[in-house]
Symmetry: C2
């Protein structure tokens, strides 16, 4: 696999994959960088350049075979398999994530849900029985889980991240509104609605 | 206000603001681009360059006064005021957003919640009484709301976006896992956990 691809290109591939999957669901079999770009608000040149890092996937003038391109992107992104994900935090957000049905067909499955509240431990959240946070290290090691989502308050997130990483987690999706300090080699992505909203208000005045 | 700032710079300002606010909450009064960069995993040169678009905010060698920099960033991002936000979708995710207490002190307040389900309309979600989606246009026009969050299934999101924009919405935070087609001048940001997870799995193999 190509190894010196800029992270910003990698970041666009899941968006391409999502749009292509949608086109396929709509019954389409072939698309073009032009059509895809129009859907995504990205230039067709950018899309061709991004995909060229991986060999191109399309023939000049005939467009992309959607099913083939989807399969290739799933392979590049390593989501042509199912990843188990640990979820820490069973509050409103954690509970919404535990109920979310959009992970399964895109390469992920929540495998376990942890919370430190005695009122929550042992109760059901969706199909999961909430486990105590003291079990994090043991469960993650035993199951060999590499990916976690953090949905705890900001003041607890670093402590939770430390435990997760110590147990073998290598990628964290952090919903807590703060930046994590992690060792080199650990990937972190952030989801914070306020950061996204503030990015837009700049343009509203 | 500076008008030709790259959007990628604007996108980092809320992250700086969040980190600075946290430093202030921790009791700190002065910081440096070096310290901030270490917290955020961004180079100090990048931070200085980003802030220089707006005049710099700091004196060479003495660092940044945190309270002052926060105030300036809030002004640049137009969050030194409170924006009303319309939320469409009162399912698991919409409900978690309606309960989220992290909007208020960062410039936003959910003003109304809409859903198209007869089982939900009229019920309470957090402090909000769910309104029917047929009221979207009227309520948003009357209140002059400019920002909306979409938390409905993917197949409904474009239709909802069209109604919102027609009613005067100019910025949309879209949680539905699909790309929206919007007229020029309308801002859209996306939150899709699977896109973020897939961006990390590339590096896990």
């Amino acid at each position: 696999m190509a190894s010196n691809i800029p992270d910003i290109v990698i970041g666009r591939l899941p968006v391409y994959l999502r749009a292509l999957t949608r086109l396929m669901q709509e019954g389409q079999e072939v698309t073009s960088s032009h059509e895809l770009g129009k859907r995504l608000g990205i230039s067709s040149a950018q899309i061709r350049k991004d995909l060229s890092h991986f060999g191109g996937f399309g023939k000049q003038g005939t467009g992309y075979q959607i099913a083939y391109l989807i399969e290739q992107l799933r392979q590049v992104l390593s989501v042509n398999r199912e990843w188990e994900v640990a979820l820490v935090g069973a509050g409103d957000l954690g509970s919404a994530l535990a109920h979310y049905r959009g992970f399964g067909d895109r390469g992920f499955r929540i495998a376990c849900v942890f919370d430190n509240s005695p009122q929550k431990v042992g109760t059901k959240v969706g199909e999961y029985t909430v486990l105590p946070t003291s079990d994090i290290a043991k469960v993650i090691r035993e199951r060999g889980i590499k990916i976690a989502m953090i949905a705890v308050p900001a003041e607890k997130a670093q402590e939770v991240a430390n435990v997760l990483i110590e147990a073998g987690i290598r990628a964290i999706l952090n919903y807590a509104p703060m930046n994590l300090n992690v060792p080199a080699g650990i990937r972190v992505q952030y989801i914070d609605p306020v950061v996204q909203l503030q990015r837009m208000t700049y343009y509203l005045t």
